[in-house]
């Protein structure tokens, strides 16, 4: 997962964890909000992605007491943040290129 482009669900999960640590259900809700309901991750997909990101060291998990019961919370590691920034730079480049190409075609 070091050089390959990141898939949309993974990118959204990383973006969800970029501002603050979140638990599983909060990530689901946040990804849905970010895409305005267009993308609704299933629990199976979410945990498959989290498992992979944990294995690759992009995110880490810790236990947080939340009211009556504890919850496993996920946050970005420095490696995950760096890779996310690289991916955003790549996407910006593509967006700029696309804008230029489309603008040159229209004129």
């Amino acid at each position: 997962m070091d050089s390959a482009p990141i898939s949309e669900p993974i990118l959204l999960i990383l973006l969800s964890l970029a501002d603050q640590p979140r638990h599983g259900y909060a990530i689901l809700r946040d990804t849905e909000t970010m895409t305005e309901g267009r993308l609704r991750l299933s629990t199976g997909t979410l945990y498959g992605a989290l498992h992979r990101l944990l294995a690759d060291g992009w995110i880490e998990r810790f236990h947080q007491e939340d009211g009556s019961r504890g919850k496993q919370v996920y946050r970005l590691t420095p490696l995950g943040r760096r890779n996310l920034q690289q991916e955003i730079t790549r996407l910006k480049l593509i967006t700029r290129l696309a804008s230029l190409r489309i603008a040159s075609k229209e004129t």
Partner: protein
């Protein structure tokens, strides 16, 4: 519905289930609670998505486990090494030898039959509609046989993986006389 999700989570590999199972069920429970406020159609769509997600996830993790268990070392020797959590039982060698022997015997028997009825095969003529109809059950039989063999192969792989990993995980190193801490698997 939660019972169904519980069953589907049980389809995941044991290690994965141990790590995420409880958490996944908690999330699924929250999703169910949230869906109660929505309409019937939205609830059905959500349930279908969750079921498909869990089934695909379980399949993906099993495939990843099997694929990840055998790792080919990219060295000059091209040795095939296996991870410590996966071992074939010793009976596999015997079973494979028996299968190989059966294949050789079948080939020899086939040669004998061919020799005994040489030139006695009837000439194949045009296929009549009645013969075409007879082909359908044969094709179905072949398809059923292929499915059966596939299921048997999958069951064998599953059983081998289970017996191998469970036996290793049940090894109690400390209780064995003469086994020190230097035992490595």
């Amino acid at each position: 519905m939660l019972l169904l999700y519980h069953f589907l989570v049980h389809l995941y590999p044991a290690t994965y289930r141990g790590e995420y199972g409880e958490e996944m069920l908690a999330v699924l429970s929250e999703v169910l609670t949230e869906n109660q406020k929505k309409g019937v159609m939205a609830r059905i769509v959500s349930a279908v998505c969750e079921i498909a997600g869990l089934l695909c996830g379980a399949l993906r993790e099993h495939i990843r486990n099997i694929a990840g268990s055998i790792r080919v070392e990219k060295s000059f020797s091209r040795r095939v090494t296996m991870r410590s959590d996966f071992r074939f039982p010793k009976t596999t060698v015997t079973l494979m030898a028996l299968v190989l022997l059966a294949v050789f015997l079948a080939i020899e028997k086939g040669k004998d039959i061919q020799a005994s009825i040489a030139y006695a095969n009837p000439q194949v003529g045009p296929i009549h509609p009645t013969q075409q109809l007879a082909l359908l059950p044969t094709l179905l039989l072949v398809l059923a046989f292929a499915c059966l063999m596939g299921a048997f192969g999958w069951a064998m792989l599953f059983a081998l993986r289970r017996t191998g990993s469970q036996r290793l995980s049940n090894v109690d190193v400390s209780s064995r006389p003469g086994c020190g801490t230097s035992l490595s698997i």
